[in-house]
């Protein structure tokens, strides 16, 4: 069994509200102080590392020394594991606990004996540096820690992957109180996670204002559906053989009153943090089904679905509701999921796939070729279409290795009855190349960007002309 949990580009859960996560309330602090006096209160039982209470005590002591001039400086590193929850969920807590112990060992091995390494709770770790940090050395250390943690683990017969992101705050530069320092390390950690994970960041002043504007955005996002600021845009998908439109990919946009047109990448991570993926996902399904209903029966409308949404046991039912509310037959709808869905070795995934197929809803594997899905995994699950990622298409050089991958996928698809679709087709040259590599359909700027619903008619006309003119 393989569980991949390392950095993927897709958004993932960061449920804890920021930026107050690690800032203990006064009561909380008193409780930990009390705990620290009891035997064992200094030590995290699971990993043998320092406990949160011990970490905070040590931090206070270091900061007092800095204030007294007997210490030059210190630094705090916050780490948390990317996708740890998935390991716990799919392989169980015993494996999760072993993983935490192995991570602890790997981290410990890279540190100075006097550095304090603590587990703050869950999959959160913190390091308090014994010596005044040199930023260059600290950057190297962080990179080493990231590299080590993301290396493969073998635990009780399972191959396990996690990653880690790191946030760093320095004293006295970034703060002289424990509270400020911890909050700033946490903001830096947030930055690392937000920029694709598996990264480290030193705290920068602008993270404070970003945190504030995130707050604003959050408030606005909560109201966006009701205020009708969300909109679907549609990008045509075209048959390579006939040049005819086969359907549209529906893409979510947020018409933000001040910031203009926002793409999912600008707000979906936030949506996930504040638990709005599911309501937004429902809205998208309903809107797209209603739109699709207005168009001829041969046009298929594709909707992107996040791993979180797909994994929700009620997902198939919500698709069914959206279809029946719009009166749309299942074959008009296509669900696009990214590779990370495959990696959830979760029984709900094949179940949902089959449930969708029973409704004749097609399922597409999106962004294939960017990461982790292997050809053998493809063969195991009932996909109708594979979308080959734009990064493999767009290579200026038409890298022979990429072409080999495209050909291999197309050939495998052929033998399994799976269509292959190329994204990011921007020129005639791209089109000819992917055609000769065996792709069935394409989308990209060569045909059209995504347009609002009220421009679909125009778009269909335009593409008809393009067809007749190139024939």
């Amino acid at each position: 069994m393989q569980v991949e949990a390392h950095a993927l580009n897709t958004a993932s859960v960061h449920l804890t509200p920021l930026p107050l996560r690690v800032v203990p309330s006064p009561e909380h602090h008193a409780r930990h102080k009390a705990q620290a006096r009891t035997p064992g209160g200094d030590v995290d039982f699971l990993t043998g590392l320092a406990s949160r209470a011990r970490f905070e005590d040590e931090l206070h002591r270091s900061l007092e020394e800095i204030a007294a001039g007997t210490r030059q400086g210190t630094g705090v590193l916050f780490l948390d594991l990317d996708r740890f929850k998935r390991v716990n969920d799919t392989l169980g807590h015993a494996v999760g606990d072993d993983l935490l112990r192995l991570v602890s060992d790997r981290l410990r091995g890279e540190l100075h004996p006097d550095d304090v390494l603590a587990r703050l709770g869950g999959d959160e770790f913190a390091i308090l540096l014994a010596n005044a940090p040199d930023p260059v050395a600290l950057a190297q250390l962080s990179q080493r820690l990231i590299d080590l943690v993301q290396r493969t683990y073998l635990i009780e017969g399972h191959v396990v992957h996690v990653g880690t992101s790191i946030g760093i705050a320095l004293a006295p530069q970034n703060g002289v109180s424990a509270r400020e320092l911890l909050r700033r390390a946490d903001l830096a950690l947030y930055e690392s996670k937000n920029r694709g994970r598996g990264a480290f960041h030193f705290f920068e002043d602008e993270f404070e204002s970003k945190a504030l504007s995130r707050r604003d955005l959050e408030m606005q996002l909560r109201k966006a559906i009701v205020l009708r600021q969300l909109a679907m845009f549609y990008q045509p998908q075209v048959s390579v053989e006939t040049g005819a439109i086969t359907g549209f990919e529906a893409l979510l946009r947020w018409r933000h009153p001040e910031r203009g047109l926002l793409l999912p990448g600008d707000f979906m991570l936030l949506a996930e943090e504040i638990g709005m993926t599911l309501p937004i996902g429902e809205w998208v399904l309903r809107t797209v089904c209603a739109e699709a209903k207005k168009w001829p029966d041969n046009l298929v409308f594709a909707v992107n679905v996040s791993a979180q949404q797909f994994e929700d046991t009620a997902f198939a039912a919500s698709v069914e509701r959206a279809l029946s509310k719009a009166g749309l037959p299942g074959h008009r709808l296509e669900i696009e999921v990214k590779e990370d869905v495959l990696l959830r070795n979760d029984p709900s995934v094949p179940e949902t796939l089959h449930a969708l197929q029973r409704m004749s809803v097609r399922v597409t594997l999106d962004d294939f070729g960017t990461g982790v899905a292997s050809l053998s995994q493809l063969a195991r699950l009932p996909f109708d279409k594979i979308k080959i990622d734009r990064s493999l298409i767009a290579m200026e050089s038409a890298d022979p290795r990429n072409r080999a991958i495209i050909r291999a996928v197309s050939a495998l698809g052929q033998s399994l009855g799976i269509c292959t679709h190329a994204e990011g087709v921007e020129s005639l040259e791209h089109l000819q190349r992917v055609r000769s590599d065996g792709c069935h359909s394409v989308q990209g700027y060569y045909y059209s960007e995504a347009v609002p619903a009220d421009q679909i008619t125009q778009l269909i006309d335009k593409l008809k002309h393009l067809n007749t003119s190139t024939e």
Binding site: Q2, T152, L154, E156, G157, S374
Partner: protein, 144 residues
């Protein structure tokens, strides 16, 4: 379960040149093989190691717990990176019963390209190519 015969095969990228300054490449490899032979024998682990300038591939077989512990130690070794497990699971019999760590060595210059291609593919699509790597290594050790 924990003591049934267990086998893993992994490939990794050789990073020795990046990190070794004083010692030469060959001396580093010699020390890996020596450490392996001593350590593995004491925990009943056998296997084979294949390497060239670019890649490593290794088979480790034995009771599961020491195989996993050995793997964890190797995994932390900075002389390689991108460690990719291409096969893991219980096995009927050892492939390298005689070897605490066999050196799977191609005769000089032989098939360097073929080996690189196999390992490169394995790093790219691990689950599809594990078997090829194992076969390749068995071939090379028997020839040896």
């Amino acid at each position: 379960m924990a003591n049934d015969l267990y086998r893993i095969v992994y490939c990794s990228r050789n990073l020795i040149d990046e990190h070794s300054t004083s010692t030469t490449h060959d001396a580093e490899l010699e020390s890996i093989l020596n450490a392996s032979r001593v350590n593995n024998r004491s925990v009943d682990v056998t296997g084979a190691l294949l390497f060239n300038r670019e890649y490593f591939a290794q088979v480790l077989e034995g009771p599961r717990t020491p195989v996993e512990t050995t793997f964890e130690r190797i995994q932390r070794d900075r002389r390689h990176g991108e460690v990719t497990v291409v096969e893991n699971g219980f096995a009927g019999a050892r492939d390298f019963p005689e070897w605490a760590m066999a050196h799977a060595a191609p005769a000089s210059g032989q098939m360097e390209d073929g080996i690189c291609a196999t390992l490169q593919l394995a790093l790219l699509q691990p689950s599809a190519n594990g078997e090829d790597v194992l076969l390749l290594m068995k071939d090379l050790v028997i020839q040896d």
